[in-house]
C-alpha cells in the first residue's frame, strides 16, 4: 500500500462520515453510529496497510502523524456523539478530518522506510499514538469552546461546559501519558528524561495551559467565557508544539525534534 491509494480510502471514509453526520442531524442515531464507525474502519485499514508495507508504524513524518490525527478526530467525534448526543459534533469532526486529509493529499511528504536508530524503540508507537489521540480530544474541546463562544453565548448551559470539561479530562490524561512516555523513552535512548529541548519545552507549555483550564474551572466555575478562551489559547500552544515549532527560529538551531 502506498500514498497513491490514499485518495480512494479517504474518499470512501469521508463519504461514510458525511452520511453518518447527516443522519445524526436528522436524529437517526443507530444508522449514524454504524456509518460513522464504518468510515473509521475504512480509514484505519489504510493506516494498517501502510504499516504493513512500510514495515514500521506510519508515525514518523508530519504526513503520517496527520493520518493518525484525522483518524482520532473521527474517533473522538464518535465517542462524544455516542456519549453526549450532540447532533452537530459528527459534522464538525468530519470537516476537521477532511481538512487534514486534504493537506495530506496536497502535501503527502512521502518518506522511505528508513528509521534512524533513536526512533527504533518500543516507546515510539505508544508515544505518538497517545499524543495524537489526545490532540483529537483536545481538538474536539476547542470546537466546543468555539461553539459556545460563537453560537451559544448567553444560551450556554452547564451541560455545554461540562462536555468541554469531559473532553479536556480525557485529552489531558492522554497528553500526560504522551509526555511521560516521551520522558521514559528519552531516558532509555539518551540517558536524560528531560533536557528542555524546544519540543519538550512546548510540550510542557501545552500541558500547563490545559492545567490552567482545569484549575480555572475550579477557581471560577461560573466564568465559563474566560475558561473557553483559555481552551483556545491552549490549543494554539498545542499547534506550536506539534508543527509550529518547525518555524520558530528559537527551536531550529537546537531541537532534535525538528522534522
Amino acid at each position: 500500500m502506498s500514498w497513491d491509494s490514499f485518495i480512494y480510502f479517504a474518499a470512501a471514509a469521508v463519504i461514510l462520515w458525511a452520511l453518518g453526520a447527516a443522519q445524526a442531524w436528522f436524529g437517526k442515531r443507530t444508522s449514524a453510529i454504524i456509518n460513522y464507525s464504518l468510515g473509521i474502519l475504512v480509514f484505519f485499514s489504510f493506516i494498517l496497510a501502510m504499516w504493513i508495507s512500510l514495515e514500521r508504524p506510519p508515525l514518523r513524518t508530519m504526513g503520517e502523524t496527520r493520518l493518525w490525527y484525522s483518524f482520532f478526530l473521527a474517533v473522538a467525534g464518535m465517542i462524544v456523539y455516542s456519549r453526549w448526543k450532540y447532533k452537530w459534533i459528527l459534522s464538525f469532526s468530519t470537516i476537521m478530518s477532511l481538512v487534514f486529509i486534504i493537506v495530506n493529499l496536497l502535501k503527502p511528504e512521502i518518506h522511505s522506510k528508513n528509521l534512524m536508530p533513536a526512533l527504533q524503540s518500543p516507546w515510539f508507537a505508544p508515544h505518538v499514538i497517545v499524543y495524537m489521540f489526545s490532540y483529537g480530544m483536545l481538538g474536539a474541546a476547542t470546537l466546543m469552546a468555539l461553539y459556545v463562544l460563537v453560537f451559544r453565548k448567553e444560551k450556554t448551559t452547564a451541560e455545554d461546559i461540562s462536555t468541554a470539561d469531559n473532553l479536556v479530562a480525557t485529552g489531558m490524561a492522554f497528553l500526560t501519558f504522551g509526555m511521560l512516555f516521551g520522558a521514559l523513552w528519552a531516558q532509555e535512548a539518551w540517558g536524560t528524561y528531560w533536557a528542555w529541548d524546544p519540543k519538550e519545552t512546548w510540550a510542557a507549555i501545552t500541558w500547563m495551559a490545559y492545567l490552567l483550564y482545569v484549575h480555572f474551572r475550579i477557581a471560577r466555575p461560573k466564568d465559563w467565557a474566560n475558561a473557553m478562551w483559555i481552551l483556545i489559547l491552549a490549543f494554539i500552544c498545542l499547534q506550536i508544539c506539534w508543527w509550529g515549532i518547525n518555524y520558530l527560529p528559537s527551536a531550529h538551531a537546537t531541537s532534535v525534534h525538528v522534522y
Partner: protein
C-alpha cells in the same frame, strides 16, 4: 484598596506572582544567574529536608494563617500555573544559548526558578489537602496521585539534576579503557574497564544510519568480565552507571573502528521514576473518573 485583603482571591494571586518575578529580577541583578553547582550533594539533601519541612509547616499553619490557606487553594493554583506558563513560553520563544544573556539561560533565571518553586509549593499543599480528604471519598485518589506524583517529580528532578554525572568514554577496537571525560574535558577514572571488540554500523540503502552497536567486554567492581552489545535504545547497566551508545567515527562511517559511549549516573532517578509512574497512574484514573462534578459546579 481591596488588594491583598483576606481572603486572597485570583487577582491577589496574580499580583503575588508579580512580586515573585520582581524579587527574582532583584536577585538576578544582585547575584547573577542561579548557580546550580552550589547545591550539589549534600546541600541538595539538606534543601530537600528544609523544603519538605516548609511545605508540611505551611500545611499545618493553614488554619491560623490566611496566607497559607490561600497557598494551597485554587486561587493560588491558577496564578502560579499562569506565571510559570508565561515564563516557560518566554523560554520556548527564545533560543536557549547562555551567551545570549538572561533569557538565553532560563533554567538559571531567578524569576523562572522562583515561579517553579512557588508552583511546587502549591502542588505539595494541594496534594496534602487532597490526602486529608481521602478518608471521606475514594474519588480523591486521582487528585492525590496527580499532585503527589508531580510534586515528587519536580522536587527530585530539580535537586537530583545537580548530582547527575555524564561522561564520555572513547573506545578503539581492541583497546581496553577505564577512563572517561566530563563535559569540560577532565579525565575521570570510572573503575569500570571496557574493551571494544567490534563496532558495527549498518546503513539503509540510501546511506542513512540504520543501526550502530558496540560489542564490548566489561569488567566492573566485582572483577567479573561480561560481554555485551550496547546500541541505541539498548543501554547497559554496570555498577550504578548506565552506558549508552553515543557516537562513532562519522567520517569513516561503516568502516569506523571507534565508538563513543556515554556513561550516566543519576542517583535520584528512581525517585523521579516513582513520581512519573505515580502521575501515570493518576492520569489513568482521571481518564476513567473524569473531573469531580462537585469541583466544577
Amino acid at each position: 484598596m481591596t488588594l491583598f485583603k483576606k481572603p486572597w482571591k485570583l487577582t491577589d494571586g496574580f499580583l503575588f506572582g508579580g512580586v515573585i518575578v520582581l524579587v527574582g529580577l532583584i536577585l538576578q541583578l544582585a547575584l547573577g544567574p542561579v548557580n546550580w553547582g552550589l547545591i550539589s550533594s549534600p546541600v541538595n539533601l539538606i534543601l530537600l529536608v528544609l523544603f519538605l519541612a516548609f511545605v508540611v509547616a505551611a500545611f499545618l499553619l493553614k488554619k491560623r494563617s490566611g496566607f497559607f490557606a490561600w497557598l494551597g487553594s485554587p486561587a493560588a493554583a491558577v496564578p502560579s500555573i499562569a506565571w510559570t506558563l508565561g515564563l516557560t513560553i518566554v523560554m520556548g520563544l527564545t533560543a536557549q544559548v547562555p551567551s545570549k544573556g538572561w533569557l538565553g539561560n532560563m533554567i538559571s533565571f531567578w524569576p523562572f526558578v522562583l515561579c517553579y518553586i512557588w508552583l511546587t509549593v502549591v502542588v505539595g499543599l494541594v496534594a496534602l489537602n487532597h490526602m486529608t480528604r481521602l478518608g471521606r471519598s475514594w474519588r480523591e485518589i486521582p487528585a492525590v496521585l496527580n499532585h503527589l506524583g508531580l510534586f515528587v517529580t519536580l522536587v527530585c528532578a530539580t535537586l537530583g539534576s545537580v548530582d547527575k554525572k555524564e561522561l564520555m568514554m572513547t573506545l578503539h577496537e581492541g583497546e581496553t579503557v577505564s577512563t572517561a571525560e566530563t563535559e569540560d574535558g577532565t579525565s575521570y577514572d570510572t573503575g569500570i574497564s571496557v574493551r571494544l571488540d567490534d563496532f558495527t554500523m549498518e546503513t539503509w540503502p540510501n546511506g542513512m544510519p540504520k543501526r550502530f552497536a558496540s560489542d564490548v567486554v566489561v569488567k566492573g567492581k566485582s572483577g567479573k568480565e561480561t560481554s555485551a552489545v550496547i546500541e541505541v535504545n539498548k543501554p547497559l547497566k554496570v555498577d550504578g552507571w548506565k552506558m549508552y551508545q553515543y557516537g562513532y567515527d562519522e567520517e569513516a562511517g561503516v568502516e569506523g573502528k571507534m565508538s563513543i559511549l556515554q556513561m550516566v549516573k543519576d542517583p535520584w532517578l528512581p525517585l523521579v521514576y516513582l513520581g512519573i509512574f505515580t502521575m501515570i497512574a493518576g492520569a489513568f484514573l482521571m481518564m476513567i473518573v473524569g473531573f469531580r462534578r462537585e469541583d466544577v459546579k
